[in-house]
Structures are given as structure tokens and as C-alpha cells.
């Protein structure tokens, strides 16, 4: 089993690479815990949700829907809708993780979040086929999420407003860094611009949380079309 042959150095690199994610998850996890406690969730329920769901935005939405008195099926359907974007992220990691067992991959894939994906794909060339980097990145990030949300729910409203330290901007700032790292040529810049434009339009005009997956699907396709066209002429 490849799972147990963890390369220490790669694992440590993964932990190090998780630090921006940790900085972002701490305040948001605390905030989620406080909100969930106010919505009536027990500390154990918050812990379990963060442990086995582990998807920030859908957890916030679920708590909001619970407060609004939505049915379990509504909440579960909304969760699927919000988290279906991970399909694209998981698919785009696949070429870098060929040769690993289905067991290894089914555990690694549990740790794919917007944030860990951004870090993982940015470092993809360096860990090609070796999952130890991802073990380090994913376990550190998941641990932080579980602990911060649980502490938040236990502490209730004691936690100060995260805006005081600018912590609410930690994740957007990290995504800026990750996006800039992906801008390798003119075409990727065009695709980033198009995706931004479409995502903003979809966010404003389409209800629900379809904007990420729609904008990404369309612009990745446009990217292939432009690239093919450029090679031909």
C-alpha cells in the first residue's frame, strides 16, 4: 500500500505549503463555529460536520438553511450544488497522480478544497506521482479546519471580530497569489480575464452557486478553442 510509504521530506514540504491555508482557515473556521453554535448546533455536531463534510462555504450555507427551517433534502441538495465545483478540481489533479492506487487516491481526494487545490495544483510539477506532499498539505489543512470550527463553536461569541486583524482577507489574498502563479502566458491571462468576467455576471444574474463551475467550464473550453486556433494559424 502506497499510503504507508510516506516520504518524510515531501510530507514536510506539504505541511509548509499548507501554512497560508492554515492562516485563512483559522479565522473562518472560528467564525463558522460561532455561527453554528448560535444556530443551535452542538459542539459535537460542528466537530463531526467539519470532520466528514470539510467544505467551508457549503457548511455556512447549511447552517443558514437550518436556521431558515429548510428540510434535510434541501440542505443536502444545496450542498451538492455548491460542492460540485470540486469535480473540475479533482479532474485536473488526475494527470499528476497517475500510477497511485484507487485507495490512495480516494483518501487524497477527500482533502480537495478550493484552497488546498490551489496550493496543490501550483506545486503539481514538483510532486508528480508522489502523494506524500498532498498528505502533508491535506492533513494539516483538515486538522486546522476541524480544530478551529470546534473551538469556535465551544467559545461561542467570545471570539473577537476577525476583521480586526484583516484575517477575513487572508483567503482572497491567497487566491490572488495562487492565480498570479498560474498566469504563465498571454493566453492564460485572457482566460483568467474571461473567467472573471463570466463569474461576476453569473454571480449577479444566476441564483444559487453555479457561477464558479459555469464560468470555469466555459472558459476552459474557450481556452482549448483559442489554443487550437493559434496552433493552426
Amino acid at each position: 500500500m502506497g499510503i504507508f510509504r510516506v516520504k518524510r521530506k515531501d510530507f514536510q514540504q506539504g505541511i509548509k505549503a499548507a501554512m497560508p491555508v492554515v492562516m485563512g482557515y483559522l479565522p473562518i473556521g472560528m467564525a463558522f463555529g460561532v455561527l453554528a453554535a448560535q444556530a443551535g448546533l452542538a459542539v459535537g455536531e460542528v466537530f463531526l460536520m467539519s470532520l466528514i463534510v470539510y467544505a467551508g462555504s457549503s457548511q455556512f450555507i447549511a447552517v443558514g438553511l437550518l436556521l431558515a427551517g429548510a428540510s434535510p433534502w434541501t440542505i443536502i441538495a444545496a450542498t451538492f450544488l455548491v460542492n460540485s465545483r470540486h469535480i473540475l478540481m479533482s479532474a485536473s489533479l488526475a494527470p499528476y497522480l497517475k500510477g497511485n492506487t484507487a485507495g490512495t487516491l480516494s483518501i487524497i481526494s477527500f482533502g480537495v478544497t478550493d484552497e488546498t487545490y490551489g496550493v496543490a495544483i501550483g506545486a503539481a510539477e514538483s510532486y508528480r506521482r508522489s502523494p506524500s506532499f498532498l498528505w502533508g498539505l491535506n492533513t494539516t489543512s483538515h486538522f486546522t479546519w476541524v480544530i478551529s470550527t470546534t473551538v469556535g463553536s465551544a467559545a461561542g461569541s467570545i471570539i473577537a471580530n476577525p476583521e480586526v486583524l484583516g484575517l477575513d482577507f487572508a483567503l482572497p489574498a491567497m487566491f490572488i497569489g495562487l492565480l498570479v502563479g498560474q498566469l504563465k502566458d498571454g493566453l492564460s491571462g485572457i482566460i483568467a480575464g474571461l473567467a472573471a468576467l463570466l463569474a461576476i455576471m453569473f454571480k449577479i444574474f444566476i441564483p444559487g452557486n453555479w457561477y464558479i463551475i459555469l464560468a470555469a467550464l466555459i472558459t476552459a473550453t474557450i481556452g482549448v478553442v483559442i489554443e487550437t486556433w493559434m496552433q493552426r494559424y
Binding site: 497560508p20 452542538a42 459535537g44 455536531e45 460536520m49 466528514i52 470539510y54 457549503s58 437550518l66 434535510p72 440542505i75 450542498t79 460542492n83 465545483r85 473540475l88 478540481m89 479533482s90 479532474a91 485536473s92 489533479l93 488526475a94 494527470p95 500510477g99 484507487a102 487516491l105 480516494s106 481526494s109 480537495v112 478550493d114 490551489g118 496550493v119 495544483i121 476583521e163 484583516g166 477575513d168 482577507f169 487572508a170 482572497p172 489574498a173 487566491f175 490572488i176 497569489g177 492565480l179 498570479v180 502563479g181 498560474q182 498566469l183 492564460s188 482566460i191 473567467a195 472573471a196 463570466l198 463569474a199 461576476i200 449577479i204 464560468a215 472558459t219 481556452g223 482549448v224 489554443e227
Partner: protein, 107 residues
């Protein structure tokens, strides 16, 4: 633990896990056609930009390019630092520092 909440959590876990797991497990076992590989190559920049842009430019349900949009203002030095240093930590610290300055001094 409340049975309804437990059911919600387990249901959420299932519908969250499968979209994460299936593409990676299935695609890594296949010879992916070159055109699909090229398409997947555009996914990171497309996803990251789609995640980020509305955070910076949409407030509520409105397109917001104004001086009261602190996220947008703080993002400008962030982009510069990200471009110049290629360092995630410097970028995150710049963003946080700029936001603190904006909310404290700008109001």
C-alpha cells in the same frame, strides 16, 4: 446528537465526497485524450479566477467598483506583491495589512 442533524451531516458528507473522489480515481486510471488534457490544463486558471473575481468585485448582488470596496482596494497591492515576489506569504500578509489600514484609517 440530534437525529435530523446527524442525517443532514452524513448526507452532506456523501454528496461532497463523491464529486471530489470520482474524477480523480477514474481519470487517473485512464489514458486521457490529449484534447481533454489540454482542457484540464486550463481548469486551474479558470477556477481560481472564477472563485476570486466575485469576491473582489461583487458586493451583495451588485458589481462594485468604488472606493468603499475595501477588498478591491486591498487586492491591488496584493497583485503587485504576488507578481513581484511570487511568494504566497508576502501576498497574504500584504493583503491583510492593507485591509487593516483601509478599515482603520479609511473607515
Amino acid at each position: 446528537m440530534d437525529a435530523k442533524v446527524l442525517m443532514i451531516i452524513v448526507g452532506m458528507a456523501a454528496v461532497t465526497y463523491f464529486p471530489r473522489m470520482l474524477p480523480l480515481v477514474v481519470l487517473s486510471k485512464m489514458e486521457i485524450p490529449p484534447i481533454v488534457l489540454r482542457w484540464l490544463g486550463f481548469v486551474p486558471v479558470a477556477v481560481l479566477s472564477s472563485l476570486l473575481a466575485p469576491e473582489l468585485l461583487v458586493t451583495g448582488q451588485r458589481f462594485d467598483v468604488s472606493l468603499s470596496n475595501h477588498y478591491l482596494l486591498a487586492s491591488l497591492p496584493c497583485f503587485l506583491v504576488a507578481y513581484k515576489t511570487k511568494n504566497l506569504f508576502y501576498t497574504v500578509f500584504t493583503g491583510m495589512a492593507c485591509l487593516v489600514i483601509l478599515t482603520r484609517l479609511w473607515g
